[in-house]
């Protein structure tokens, strides 16, 4: 059911919508820095000019981490387009990240 719904939504609004991401990091630890770089690169290559990235440092903004139930860092949340997607980790596996964010195949 859910899968079919998801499918329909994708057909209706294929690629034009702006992607809004929220990336939770923990200061400058290496996984967080890698995730930032990886996300920036992926957006640049696949949805150039159609994305917004909000970076939240959980060490500084604990309540936001709490509110979003962010327990591990880095955590990437795709807020729009729906449905919401959560990806944990430094995003080093580009293919996997693209698939999770439904960006594979968009440009091809």
């Amino acid at each position: 059911m859910k899968a079919r719904k998801r499918e329909r939504r994708r057909e209706a609004k294929p690629v034009r919508e702006t992607h809004i991401f929220r990336l939770f990091v923990a200061g400058n630890e290496s996984n967080s820095s890698q995730a930032r770089r990886n996300l920036a690169r992926i957006c640049e290559e696949h949805i150039k000019g159609r994305h917004k990235i909000e970076v939240v440092d959980v060490l500084k903004d604990v309540s936001s981490a709490h509110k979003n139930r962010v327990l591990v860092t880095p955590t990437l949340i795709l807020i729009k387009p729906l449905p919401k997607v959560i990806v944990l980790g430094n995003l080093n596996d580009t293919e996997q990240v693209l698939a999770a964010l439904r960006l594979n195949g968009d440009e091809r």
């Binding site: 327990l71 430094n90 996997q96």
Partner: protein, 485 residues
């Protein structure tokens, strides 16, 4: 830096000290467990509670946390697996209401279950969780933390190396905050993944393993302390039960036998038997009345109980054979009215069905009765029925523990054992406890001519002279009389 220093201190504390200062401990809120741990959990250190599913590890952790919170040591509960609602229910089953502690800011529940739909791509750490916890720790000045199902966290990592690294980081984090921590870890049957948790065992200062087994259709829970750095601890397996009053552990078989020396002699209830015993029973000792059915064992025990009651002493009669009412009415025939003693609180008869519960629960009830009644004498009728608590081993454990408690408290312990066959001497030992019994009296039936004669012999009476002959006796409506020959 700070860690290196602390570790050096830790080494000193755990070194070959004999009488040096023990490390600071925090009560677990479970009296029996505190005894086993020599005072409680190591303060400011990590304790690992491992066990299979349903073994009760989370309940033990919960009891420690909630008791601590109630006693003014605020605590945080981090749940990697269970929902908050389920935890509240667990707490309620132990008699706790979490919301009251939460309102007082003494308890904080942190749901740390990860979204099951989250995709994992590459390495990560639990910094987010720790940042949230840090804030809470400061806000409520937390002293305790229970990390429930830490294994669920481990399953997130795809390599043992990363698992270790994260755990190590978590361990350091806990130590740096001076928190007394309890981590529960689900263990799988040993052969499957020993290496995975070997590391955990190494890291924690105290490791407790709990398990649940079914023997002879009765479930028993047991607890064992595997290690405790820098502290002594009870090294046995300790049975425990969980009920609405919380967790009850019965650490009776303590490493030291602290039996009191026997007290003065007292009457057995019959002057002639006192003569045979060289002056009567010694108070605070153990006595075995063994014999065939109908030989007069219960009558003899009741005669003793009555005599003790009339002297103003209290007797606890644990009956596994019949109800209090039927015993009281049966004893009217040999002229032993027990009702007046019950009314004045000198005699308490507690009847239990042996197969109604496991040995731990029986033990728990016996100890509760002992604490409530504070008797000078305890009678167990009959140890042969105790086998129905599960097995011979179960009966042995029960009787040994009851006997030990009695000896520690200087309470006289009278065991009645019903023997079946004619070869009474072989049977009399009664589940292998005879070696620790001080006095053994054997009663038997003997066909003489057309009638049956009752005979009695004192087989053993530690530390006093006694008759070594069979003596004939008769039960009349005025008690038990010696038949003079």
């Amino acid at each position: 830096m700070a860690t290196a220093k602390r570790r050096a201190q830790g080494k000193n504390a755990g070194g070959p000290q004999k009488r040096t200062k023990e490390l600071p401990k925090v009560s677990t809120g479970i009296a029996g467990l505190d005894l086993v741990l020599g005072g409680g959990l190591p303060a400011g250190r990590v304790t690992l509670l491992s066990g299979g599913p349903g073994s009760g590890k989370s309940m033990i952790g919960l009891q420690c946390l909630l008791q601590g919170a109630a006693d003014g040591r605020p605590g945080i509960l981090v749940m990697f697996e269970e929902r908050a609602a389920a935890m509240r229910q667990n707490a309620a089953s132990l008699g706790w209401e979490m919301t009251r502690l939460e309102k007082k800011n003494r308890l904080y529940l942190m749901d740390a279950r990860l979204d099951p739909e989250a995709v994992i791509s590459g390495e990560f750490s639990i910094k987010g969780l720790l940042a949230i916890l840090d804030q809470r720790i400061k806000a409520m000045r937390a002293k305790l933390i229970l990390i429930d199902a830490a294994d669920a966290l481990l399953h997130l990592y795809d390599s043992p190396l990363r698992e270790r690294r994260e755990l190590y980081a978590l361990h350091e984090w806990l130590l740096d905050r001076g928190l007394t921590a309890i981590m529960t870890v689900k263990t799988v049957p040993q052969e499957e993944a020993p290496s995975r948790y070997a590391f955990l065992d190494f890291m924690a200062d105290c490791v407790i393993h709990v398990d649940q087994r079914v023997t002879a259709q009765l479930t028993t829970r047991r607890l064992r302390v595997i290690k405790y750095r820098g502290s002594g601890y009870g090294r046995n397996e300790y049975p425990f039960i969980i009920d609405e009053s919380g967790i009850n552990i019965i650490p009776i078989t303590s490493s030291v036998l602290q039996h009191r020396p026997p007290g003065p002699k007292m009457s057995s209830g019959q002057a002639w038997l006192d003569d045979l015993l060289g002056g009567g029973f010694k108070s605070g000792t153990s006595i075995l009345l063994a014999g065939t059915a109908g030989a007069g064992k219960t009558t003899m025990a009741c005669a003793f109980a009555r005599a003790a009651g009339l002297r103003g002493e209290r007797v606890l009669y644990l009956n596994f054979e019949e109800s209090a009412e039927s015993m009281v009415s049966n004893m009217l025939s040999p002229g032993l009215p027990l009702q007046p003693l019950i009314q004045t609180g000198k005699l308490a008869i507690r009847s239990y069905l042996p197969e109604a519960m496991g040995v731990e629960e029986h033990l728990f009830h016996a100890l509760k009765d002992l604490d409530e009644i504070q008797p000078q004498h305890v009678i167990v009728d009959a140890i042969s029925a105790c086998k129905r608590m599960g097995s011979e081993q179960a009966a042995f454990e029960y009787l040994m523990r009851v006997l030990n408690v009695c000896k520690e408290r200087g309470v006289t312990c009278i065991y009645i054992n019903q023997t079946a066959g004619l070869d009474i001497v072989a049977e009399i030992s009664g589940i292998g406890i005879s070696s620790i019994i001080d006095t053994i009296i054997l009663l038997r039936h003997l066909p003489i001519g057309g009638a049956v004669a009752r005979q009695l012999i004192v087989m053993k009476s530690r530390g006093s002279k006694h008759s070594e002959q069979f003596h004939e006796f008769r039960i009349t409506d005025r008690g038990i009389d010696l038949v003079k020959t």
